[in-house]
Symmetry: C2
Subunit: 193 residues, 2 copies
DNA sequence: TAAAATGTTCAAAAAATATTGAACATTTTT
DNA sequence: AAAAATGTTCAATATTTTTTGAACATTTTA
C-alpha cells in the first residue's frame, strides 16, 4: 500500500484556516502599526474570537470583526465608528453591517437627535440561531422536495439499477424528515438560552 | 435616508453560489462535450444534488461530486473509476476521497482478489452527522473554554466597562452550554433515521 | 529485482471570493 | 437650492481556496 503520511492535507476539515494581514498574530496583539490601538484589550480579544467563530461557518473575516466589535462595546456604534476602529473599507463595513442586520445579528438603534444610524450586537441565541437557520439552511431544505422528485423521475424503471436507485431516493427522503424534526427542536432549545 | 435597492449583494447569505465549468448548466445536462456521458441520468442528478448540499456547508465542489457519484452507484468504485467518470484530476479524486473517508462518509470495501481499493457511500445519517460534527464543529467547541478565559482575563476590573464586559463573557458561556446540550441531542435524533 | 500498478503529495495555475475606494444616491442642514 | 452628511454600489484589485498534473513512494507482479 502506498504511503500515508500523517496528513499535511489542507482540507483537514476543509476550508483551511484563514490567515491574513492584521489582527492575526497573537490573539491579543496590537492591531496595526500606526495607531497604538483603537480597541481595548477586551475588544481585541472579542474580535479575534468572533473572527474564529464566524470562520467556522465559512463566513468572511470582516463579518466576524464587525460582530466582535459590536459585541464587546456597550454603546451603539455608527458605520463610521466601525469602519474607523476596525480599519475596514467603507464598502466592507457597509455590506458587512447590512448582512449582519439582515440575519438579525445586529440591531439598529435610534439615538434621539442623532442622524447617523447606530448599531448594537444582538446576543439572544434564539434570534441568532433562527436568523442563521432561516437565511442559510432553510432555503436549502425548501427546494429539497422538488429536487428529490427530479431525482426520482430520473430513474429508468426498466433498468436493473431501478430498485437500488429507488432505495436511495428513500434514503434522502428520510434525511429530510430528520431535518424537519431536528430544526424546530434546536430552535426551541435555543430559546431557553 | 439613503437608497436601499433590493440587494444585488453577493453575500446574500454569504458564499455566493458557486458556478463554474461543467455540470453547472441544467441539473441533468450532459457532463462534457467529448463523451456523450459517462454517467446515467440518475447519477448525473445525484451528483448535482450533492454538489448543492455540500456547497451549503461550503465544501468544495469536488467533494460533492465524488459523494454524489458513490451515492448513486451500487457497485463499489475505485479511485480510477471516480476520476474517469467525473473527469477529475488524480489529485482531486485522491484528496477528496481521503477527506470523505476521514469524515466517515465513504467506506472502503475490500474486493477479494482485486488490488485496487474500492469505495462506497456511507448513508447512515448517524455516522454522517457524527463524523461531520466531530471533525468540523467539536474542535471549535473544545478550545472554547480556553478562549473564554483569555477573553475574561482581558478585562480590566478597574475600568467602568468591566461590569458590561463580564456580562458578555457570561453570555458566551451560556452559548457554550447550549451547544453542549444541543449536540448530543442532535446526534441522538440522527441515530433514529 | 525490474517493471507495472496503485496511491499520494505538492508546487504551480485556475477559479472563486472578499475587500477596497471612488462614484453615485438620498436626505438633511444651511 | 446648494452644500454637507450619510449610506450604498460596483468595478478593479487582492486574497484565499481549489484544481491540476507530474514527480515521488510503495507494493505487487513478472
Amino acid at each position: 500500500m502506498p504511503p500515508v503520511k500523517d496528513a499535511p492535507f489542507t482540507k483537514g476539515g476543509s476550508l483551511s484556516v484563514k490567515k491574513s494581514k492584521a489582527l492575526r498574530a497573537a490573539p491579543g496583539a496590537n492591531l496595526q502599526t500606526s495607531p497604538p490601538s483603537l480597541l481595548s484589550p477586551f475588544q481585541l480579544e472579542s474580535v479575534s474570537l468572533f473572527i474564529h467563530v464566524f470562520g467556522a461557518l465559512s463566513l468572511p473575516r470582516s463579518i466576524g470583526e464587525i460582530y466582535g466589535l459590536l459585541f464587546s462595546t456597550q454603546e451603539p456604534l455608527s458605520l463610521d465608528d466601525v469602519q474607523t476602529r476596525l480599519q475596514l473599507s467603507r464598502g466592507s463595513a457597509s455590506e458587512g453591517l447590512r448582512w449582519l442586520r439582515s440575519l438579525g445579528a445586529v440591531n439598529q438603534v435610534y439615538l434621539p437627535g442623532i442622524r447617523k444610524e447606530h448599531f448594537t450586537a444582538e446576543t439572544s441565541l434564539r434570534k441568532l440561531a433562527s436568523g442563521y437557520l432561516r437565511d442559510r439552511i432553510d432555503p436549502h431544505l425548501e427546494n429539497g422536495p422538488s429536487r428529490l422528485s427530479i431525482l426520482e423521475s430520473s430513474i429508468d424503471p426498466t433498468s436493473p439499477a431501478a430498485h437500488f436507485e429507488k432505495s436511495r431516493v428513500g434514503q434522502i427522503a428520510g434525511w429530510y424528515k430528520f431535518f424537519a424534526k431536528a430544526l424546530p427542536l434546536v430552535k426551541a432549545l435555543a430559546g431557553k438560552f
